[in-house]
């Protein structure tokens, strides 16, 4: 069974820093992006192949926010990542 999910693109190099922040480097555009801790949490979840629901759950577990706030935040960031061509919507195999 396949399920569409946002996946980090191969030309993106991610740096994870110890305080949770991070930097993404786009080797195609030669641009870099400095991300805060919660944005990097979402990026890491995308790297690990999490579904959107799993990402929202991860945010709610990590931070003191409601489910609705987590959905709004995750949607906004993923939209930005997609607009900057850092992630792409791809089919992934889902095991039951």
């Amino acid at each position: 069974m396949t399920d569409p999910a946002f996946v980090p693109l191969k030309h993106i190099v991610a740096s994870h820093l110890e305080d949770g922040d991070g930097v993404l480097v786009d080797l195609n555009t030669r641009q870099y992006y400095q991300l805060n801790e919660s944005a990097m949490l979402i990026w890491r979840a995308l790297e690990n192949g999490f579904s959107f629901d799993q990402i929202v759950k991860e945010i709610v577990t990590t931070y003191t926010v409601s489910n609705e706030q987590a959905i709004t935040s995750a949607e906004a960031l993923i939209r930005q990542l997609q607009r900057r061509k850092l992630v792409d919507l791809q089919d992934r195999t889902v095991t039951d």
Binding site: L17, E18, R30, Y32, Q34, L35, N36
Partner: protein, 353 residues
């Protein structure tokens, strides 16, 4: 709220492989425990290379570790092969860069440099007559691009930064920033007050299993006349060299001649300072968050985002550097000039807090 705090970019083909080489002249040089091999059609061309390398901490290597891969830089005096570029390329100082998957093509001062895929351990330089014959500055520029690229293929990264060590310290302090940010003045102030040094502006970073190690790369410093005066460096006339070609406001300063006991060949950095020139009376030192510090380093290291084949390791090396250091911004005040002897204590105190 998850957010992208900021973003930025750095400064801004495929070549046919050359046929079998008929070149005979070969010389090896080592830097930071690594060896580069230079090959050219004749010895005079290698003499030009030797003159260029003598300004840096490259040493002729009669013997070297043959178990280690050696990067070959072959210098041709023929016309370069035609190459087709898929990438529109981007401007670099004195030329253009055309990335092409694992290799990059640089056209600099009329000469062409092709940096091959990492596994080939090879860089080819087609030196134009214009470059070689008429302008030593242009020749140095071409060779510098070729050598830097070859070093990147060996996981060693040229880094525009000063590096100093407090007396008796084992970990270095990097001074990072654009030209004119005050890093040379700060470096000179600290050295004048007994600190040790690697360089004022030109280092090599090497990613090792035990962490990032900084090596001195260029043999001389470059100072404004005003820095020589402010830091009382004219007391060392033997250390003051000629004016810097292409930048007549600066002179070369051979710091090892003035402070022979203070030179350190390499060290592990423990602190990064980002100097800037302020207008206040007192110098201020403020912590910088790791993500912000890494973003600043990326701005200073354009090849970390441009040399596609080396970029992932280059970015990782800068990340490792951030992980092993603490970062601060230093907004220098008038006290750097009025009370220079107070600056070392101020820095030591602040970064030890």
């Amino acid at each position: 709220m998850p957010e992208i705090l900021r973003f930025g970019g750095s400064a801004r083909a495929s070549a046919r492989l050359p046929g079998p080489s008929t070149s005979k002249a070969i010389r090896h040089y080592s830097v930071a425990d690594r060896t580069l091999c230079f090959q050219a059609v004749d010895a005079p061309v290698l003499d030009l290379v030797h003159d260029f390398l003598s300004g840096y901490y490259f040493t002729p290597a009669d013997s070297y570790n043959r178990n280690q891969p050696v990067h070959l830089i072959e210098i041709h005096r023929s016309a370069p092969p035609a190459f087709l570029s898929q990438d529109p390329g981007f401007e670099i100082e004195d030329g253009y860069c055309y990335p092409d998957h694992e290799q990059i093509v640089l056209v600099v001062n009329g000469s062409t440099i092709v940096v091959r895929a990492p596994e080939l351990n090879r860089t080819d330089v087609w030196l134009s007559d214009i470059t070689a014959g008429r302008h030593s500055l242009a020749l140095n520029n071409v060779l510098l691009y070729a050598v830097q690229a070859a070093l990147r293929r060996g996981s060693m990264y040229q880094f525009h930064a000063g590096c100093v060590l407090a007396p008796d310290a084992t970990r270095g302090i990097l001074l990072v920033g654009d030209s004119g940010c005050g890093k040379s003045t700060l470096t000179a102030t600290l050295i004048r007050n007994g600190w040790c040094f690697l360089s004022d502006d030109n280092l090599l970073l090497r990613d090792t299993p035990s962490g990032i190690v900084a090596w001195a790369l260029r043999r001389y410093f470059t100072f404004d006349e005003s820095t020589l005066d402010a830091c009382k460096l004219r007391h060392f006339p033997d250390a003051i060299g000629p004016r810097v070609p292409g930048d007549r406001d600066k002179v070369r300063f051979y710091a090892r001649r003035a402070f022979p006991q203070s030179f350190v060949e390499n060290c592990a950095p423990g602190v990064i300072l980002f100097p800037s020139i302020g207008v206040e009376r007192q110098t201020r030192i403020e912590p910088v968050k790791p993500g912000e510090a890494l973003a600043r380093l990326l701005t200073q290291c354009p090849w970390a985002t441009c040399d596609t084949a080396a970029a992932p390791d280059h970015v990782q090396a800068l990340t490792n550097l951030i992980k092993q250091t603490r970062s601060y911004s230093v907004i220098t005040g008038r006290d750097v000039f009025d009370y220079p002897s107070s600056i070392p204590g101020l820095i030591s105190q602040r970064i030890d807090d």
